[in-house]
């Protein structure tokens, strides 16, 4: 509950993403780890990309309205699922400015699950097909 005000400040646009968003994975129960009532959209700079299983992860520095910067850990699908959907290991690189939408974690601080990712111009760079497995 303590996270929510911060999340609200960070959420430049809170949009009602469908539950079947890009990175929702069958590795674990979505509802157990993420809160579907707390969609977020954040813009920031990529500081690290982990191309690992069971999930790829993108870390971005996000500055809130008060000027404070926090490093957010966004869970993606696995590299295996991302690649089979057309994503590449270097699709997102350190230093890229990106916008990530998704849902806040219930427990982990500064953690969220990524739904869609757009580049600095707003162009979607990951839009998963609704028939993908792993959701």
């Amino acid at each position: 509950m303590k996270r929510q005000p911060l999340a609200r400040r960070l959420a430049t646009i809170a949009i009602a993403l469908p539950l079947a968003s890009a990175a929702i994975s069958a590795h674990h129960s979505f509802a157990a780890q993420y809160d579907a009532t707390k969609p977020v959209e954040m813009r920031g700079t990529v500081t690290k990309v982990e191309w690992t299983n069971p999930h790829a992860r993108i870390y971005i520095d996000v500055r809130d309205d008060t000027g404070q910067t926090a490093n957010w850990n966004f869970e993606m699908a696995s590299p295996n699922i991302l690649v089979r959907n057309g994503w590449k290991q270097n699709t997102v690189r350190i230093g890229d400015r990106i916008t990530v939408s998704g849902y806040l974690a219930r427990k982990g601080e500064h953690m969220a699950i990524a739904g869609a990712v757009a580049d600095a111009t707003g162009k979607p760079i990951f839009a998963s097909d609704p028939t993908d497995v792993g959701r």
């Binding site: 780890q33 089979r84 427990k107 497995v133």
Partner: protein, 267 residues
């Protein structure tokens, strides 16, 4: 991009279809590689069942099961429910979502599947089922018997023997430990579980699988789960080393099965 992927997938399917139709499992010319691991957005190829030189259906290929990953009951006949024994409900009632063995990167046991493909490789004496998830493999010993009960080790994936019944490969597995879950939901089983899988290639692009679970230690009667796997054209298994699991430490919630078991127990 999607249309392009579908077109590439269709081309790949055509490239793959010709050699398989000629009863050769491995194409003599490598097909064009369009995407590492193959595309899961391409439609499975159409065509007749390929056969091996001995006349049996050829099950070789990279197959993807899409259904029943999160909850195995999706594979039951419509309206059928899992025949839990009361003790099974009591075990399930205490499950935590973070305790799922999958979140410890442990192997999955039949009938569980992750959303990753598997490859069937046939030799005369063994059939191998290679699963991308946690880089696991199963050995199916053709025409053999299970070890005697006092020699049977209880393992994560059990001991599998196989035989052909007409056009169906029948895989019989016993010797499971009781540590795995059937799904994310948290369906459990006992170490008395006996699974019979029936693999029937319906056509070039589809593999029909029926799994009958007989587990008198956890369920009051046998039940059968069914799914159809799709051939991934140009499919390859990819590396899956589970070396960055962060979810278990960040989940603190009852498993879905725990919530429902409490209701079924009237609590």
């Amino acid at each position: 991009m999607r249309q392009s992927a579908v077109r590439l997938g269709m081309l790949a399917a055509l490239a793959l279809a010709a050699p398989i139709g000629a009863q050769i499992s491995v194409p003599s010319t490598p097909p064009p590689q369009t995407r590492a691991g193959g595309s899961i957005t391409a439609r499975p190829p159409a065509g007749p069942v390929p056969h091996k030189p001995n006349g049996q259906p050829d099950l070789a290929g990279v197959w993807l099961r899409r259904a029943g990953i999160v909850n195995i009951t999706q594979l039951l006949p419509p309206g059928e429910k899992m025949p839990f024994l009361p003790e099974t409900l009591r075990r399930m009632r205490s499950l935590k979502s973070q305790d799922d063995p999958q979140l410890k990167c442990l192997p999955l046991a039949t009938p569980r599947s992750a959303p990753y493909p598997f490859r069937i490789v046939e030799t005369p004496a063994q059939v191998f089922i290679l699963t991308e998830s946690v880089h696991a493999y199963r050995q199916v010993f053709m025409g053999r018997m299970h070890p005697p009960a006092d020699e049977l080790q209880l393992t994560w994936q059990g001991h599998s023997i196989g035989r052909w019944e007409k056009d169906t490969l029948v895989v019989d597995t016993v010797g499971f430990n009781d540590l795995t879950w059937f799904d994310n939901y948290g369906h459990l089983h006992s170490d008395r579980m006996h699974v019979v899988e029936r693999f029937t290639r319906a056509d070039l692009g589809h593999l029909a699988v029926a799994m009958t679970i007989d587990d008198p230690g956890a369920y009051s009667r046998p039940f059968t789960l069914r799914y159809t796997a799709e051939l991934i054209p140009n499919g390859e298994l990819m590396e899956y080393i589970c070396d960055n699991e962060q979810d278990a430490a960040n989940i603190d919630a009852p498993a879905d099965a725990a919530i429902d078991a409490a209701k079924l127990l009237g609590q």
